[in-house]
C-alpha cells in the first residue's frame, strides 16, 4: 500500500500494521485500557450489498409499480398473546436506552415510529413517560440489569422483549459511564449519580432455556397473557439459539447481527464477536422451519439495515420484519455534517463519531447534557425518522413488485442471487449466473 499523504510512492505501508493499527497500539500503550466506543462493527463483512434480486421477466410476472398493491403489514406475536402487535410496515425501532440516549431522542423515535404505524423499543434503563406517551406501540425490554423494571410499566407495554444479548456484544453486558449519569438517570436506575453503571451479561434469576421457559410463563402471568413475549439474541449460534427460544415459549424471536450498534462497549468486542446478519437469517429460518414454526413464531432481524433493499433481502431470506437502530439515529441527525465543527472540537468528525459513551454528542442524541439535548427537536426529528421509514418501505415494495410479489413476506430466497462465494454460502442462495450454493448439493 502506498503512502498517499507523503506523495512518495517508494514508501510502503504494511497491510498488517497499517496506520490505524499502529495508532491503536500507541493509544493502548499510552492509556493501559481497552478502547470503549459506541456504534457497531466498522470492519467490512459480507453484507446485503453482496445479494441481488432477480426481477421478473419471461418466467416471472411483475406487478405494476404504482397501481398494484404490495402489502407491508405484519402481525407479531399471535401464538399465545391476547393482543398481538400489528405493524403497518415491517420495520421497527430497536431497543435503545434512555440514559444512552437523551429523552428528546427517545421521544423522537416514538414520534417517528408512531407516524408510520410501527413500534419502538425501550432499552436498559426503563420506560420514560416521553417514550410511552409518543409511542403508539412500545416494546418493553426485560434485561439482565433490570434497571427501572417494574410491573406497572410492564403492563403498559404492548410487548415484552427478553434480551439475552445483542449483536454488537453477544455474551457481554453493558456500561453506562458516569459522565452520562444525571440525577434523572440515576434515580431511574437506583444508583448514585455520576458513577459507572454496569449492566450484567446474564439474567440474575434464571440460567438456561428450561429456566427461561418458566420466566416467560411468569411474565405472561403478571401481564395476564395479554401481550407477546419476544426473545432477543445476538447472532452467534443462531440455529441452536432460535430452537431453544421457540422451545422456551417465545412468540417472536429477534436476531441481531454483528453490525448492530451499541451505546458503549469494547471495540474488540464489537469487531470480533458474533456473525454477520446475513449469515444469521438462514440459520434462524432453518431452525423455525424444522420445528414447523416459521411464520408462526415471527422472526425480526437487525444489524446493519440501511435501505429498502436491505429490508427486502432480509424478508426474502425469511424474516417477518426488521429492526433498525443506527440508521434511525442517523435519520434523527446523528453524525450530521452540520455539526462538523463541533465534532472536530471533540476529536472526531461528522460521519465518524462513535464516542457515544462520553455524552458529548453535538447532535444532542447520545447525551444527557441539557444544552446539547436542546439541539434535537423531537417533533422535527420524529418527522425525519418517519420520512426515512416511509422510504425504506417504498423501496422494499418496489423490489417486491419487481419480483411479482403482492406482499413483502412473499419474497423468498429463490428471488435472490449472490455476488460472492462467501455471501452465497452465508445467505444460502446461488452465486449469480450459476445454480451453485456453496455447502449444498447441486
Amino acid at each position: 500500500m502506498s503512502n498517499d499523504t507523503n506523495n512518495n510512492p517508494s514508501l510502503k505501508e504494511s497491510a498488517t500494521f497499517d496506520r490505524a493499527t499502529m495508532a491503536e497500539i500507541r493509544r493502548a500503550a499510552n492509556t493501559g485500557i481497552y478502547d470503549i466506543r459506541g456504534f457497531g462493527a466498522k470492519r467490512k463483512v459480507p453484507h446485503f450489498d453482496d445479494l441481488l434480486f432477480l426481477g421478473a421477466s419471461m418466467s416471472r410476472y411483475p406487478l405494476e409499480g404504482y397501481r398494484e398493491t404490495c402489502n407491508t403489514s405484519v402481525i407479531l406475536g399471535d401464538r399465545f398473546a391476547k393482543k398481538p402487535i400489528k405493524l403497518d410496515i415491517p420495520v421497527t425501532i430497536a431497543g435503545m436506552s434512555f440514559g444512552a440516549l437523551s429523552a428528546n431522542a427517545k421521544e423522537a423515535l416514538g414520534r417517528g415510529a408512531s407516524i408510520v404505524g410501527t413500534s419502538t423499543t425501550t432499552g436498559d434503563g426503563g420506560m420514560t413517560p416521553e417514550e410511552r406517551g409518543q409511542s403508539s406501540k412500545l416494546v418493553y425490554q426485560y434485561l439482565p440489569s433490570r434497571y427501572g423494571m417494574n410491573p406497572d410499566d410492564l403492563r403498559k407495554a404492548d410487548a415484552i422483549e427478553v434480551v439475552l444479548g445483542q449483536g454488537a456484544k453477544p455474551g457481554g453486558g453493558g456500561m453506562l459511564l458516569g459522565q452520562k449519569i444525571t440525577d434523572r438517570v440515576a434515580q431511574m436506575r437506583n444508583l448514585p449519580k455520576g458513577i459507572d453503571q454496569r449492566s450484567a451479561c446474564r439474567h440474575p434469576d434464571w440460567t438456561g432455556p428450561d429456566d427461561l421457559a418458566i420466566k416467560i410463563q411468569e411474565l405472561r402471568e403478571i401481564t395476564d397473557w395479554e401481550v407477546p413475549i419476544y426473545i432477543k439474541v445476538g447472532a452467534t449460534r443462531t440455529y441452536y439459539d432460535v430452537k431453544l427460544a421457540v422451545k422456551a415459549g417465545a412468540d417472536v424471536i429477534v436476531v441481531d447481527g454483528m453490525q448492530g450498534g451499541t451505546a458503549a462497549t469494547q471495540d474488540v468486542f464489537i469487531e470480533h464477536v458474533g456473525i454477520p446478519t446475513m449469515a444469521a437469517i438462514p440459520q434462524a429460518v432453518q431452525a423455525l422451519q424444522e420445528m414447523g414454526m416459521h411464520r408462526k413464531v415471527q422472526l425480526i432481524v437487525s444489524g446493519g439495515i440501511r435501505n429498502g433493499a436491505d429490508v427486502a433481502k432480509c424478508m426474502a431470506l425469511g424474516a417477518d420484519a426488521v429492526a433498525i437502530g443506527t440508521a434511525a439515529l442517523v435519520a434523527l441527525g446523528c453524525n450530521d455534517p452540520k455539526w462538523d465543527e463541533d465534532y472536530k472540537a471533540i476529536g472526531s468528525a461528522a460521519g465518524f463519531y462513535d464516542d457515544y459513551q462520553e455524552g458529548k454528542d453535538p447532535a444532542g442524541i447520545s447525551t444527557q447534557d441539557p444544552e446539547l439535548m436542546k439541539r434535537l427537536d423531537p417533533v422535527e426529528a420524529g418527522r425525519r425518522l418517519a420520512n426515512y421509514l416511509r422510504v425504506l418501505t417504498l423501496e422494499a415494495q418496489t423490489l417486491a413488485r419487481a419480483c411479482g410479489k403482492n406482499d413483502l413476506r412473499n419474497l423468498e430466497p429463490e428471488d435472490l442471487v449472490a455476488l460472492t462465494v462467501e455471501s452465497a454460502a452465508m445467505a444460502r442462495v446461488p452465486l449469480a449466473g450459476t445454480n451453485w450454493i456453496p455447502g449444498q448439493r447441486f
Binding site: 485500557i33 410492564l154 458513577i195 434464571w206
Partner: protein, 227 residues
C-alpha cells in the same frame, strides 16, 4: 377468607383472581392449598391482601409483588419475590437461589436458609434471613439492606454498590470491592428496626457490617486485577 385449591384450579385461575383484587377488592384474605411446587404462584399482585400458601412453591413465587403480604408455609424455589416493589413476603422454610433478585422495595423474610445469589442486584428491598445464605449473595447489590443471622458463603457482596449488609455468623469470603465497615450507632438502629420488622429475636450488637469500598465505581486501570 377465600381458599384456592391448586389441585383443582390452575395457577392461571389463581393469579387472575388475585389480580382482580386491585380494582375489585372483595376478599382480603386468601389461602392457597396444594401448591405442590407449582411455579409463578401469586405473581404480579397489586392489592392490600394477604396470601397464605400452605406447602412448597416453585420458581418466582411472589414475583414483582406490590403491597400484598404473602407467606409461604414451606420452601420456595428459585427467584422468590424477584423484583418485588413493596409489601411483605415471608418464607417459613428455605429459599432457593436468587431470592429477592433485583427487588426494589418491601420486606423479604426467609426463616430458613437461602441459596446462592440471595439479593443479587437488589435495588431497595430489605431482606432478612434467619439462617445462612449461599455464595455470590448480593452480587451487584445497589440499595436496601441484607441481614443474615447465620453465615454467608463465598464472595459476599461482589461488585457491591450501596446495600447495607449485616452478618451475625462467619463470612466465607468477601467479593471484589466489599469490605467490613464500622458498625456505628445509626447502623445498630437500622438493624434493630429490620430485625423487629422481620420478627427476629437477635441482638444487633452481635452483627458485623459490610459495604462497598467504592473503588470500582469508576473504571481505573490500576484495579484491572479486580475485574
Amino acid at each position: 377468607m377465600m381458599t384456592v385449591d391448586l389441585a383443582a384450579q390452575s395457577v392461571r385461575d389463581l393469579n387472575k383472581a388475585l389480580h382482580e383484587c386491585k380494582d375489585n377488592l372483595t376478599e382480603k384474605e386468601w389461602v392457597v392449598t396444594n401448591p405442590k411446587g407449582n411455579h409463578n404462584i401469586a405473581v404480579g399482585l397489586d392489592a392490600d391482601i394477604s396470601v397464605d400458601i400452605h406447602g412448597h412453591a416453585g420458581y418466582f413465587c411472589a414475583g414483582m409483588n406490590k403491597t400484598a403480604n404473602i407467606t409461604v408455609h414451606g420452601n420456595a424455589g428459585q427467584g422468590v419475590a424477584e423484583n418485588m416493589m413493596s409489601g411483605v413476603v415471608r418464607i417459613k422454610g428455605d429459599a432457593s437461589q436468587a431470592a429477592g433478585a433485583t427487588a426494589h422495595g418491601g420486606l423479604l423474610v426467609i426463616e430458613g436458609n437461602a441459596g446462592a445469589r440471595c439479593g443479587i442486584s437488589m435495588k431497595g428491598v430489605d431482606i432478612v434471613v434467619k439462617g445462612s445464605i449461599g455464595h455470590m449473595s448480593c452480587f451487584m447489590g445497589q440499595s436496601g439492606s441484607l441481614v443474615v443471622c447465620g453465615d454467608a458463603g463465598e464472595a459476599l457482596g461482589d461488585s457491591l454498590y450501596e446495600v447495607h449488609i449485616y452478618v451475625k455468623g462467619t463470612v466465607k469470603s468477601l467479593g471484589a470491592d466489599c469490605i467490613e465497615k464500622e458498625m456505628r450507632s445509626e447502623h445498630v438502629a437500622e438493624l434493630k428496626g429490620l430485625l423487629e420488622k422481620a420478627g427476629v429475636d437477635e441482638n444487633p450488637l452481635d452483627f458485623k457490617r459490610y459495604g462497598s469500598a467504592r473503588q470500582l465505581y469508576t473504571f481505573k486501570v490500576d484495579n484491572a486485577s479486580a475485574y
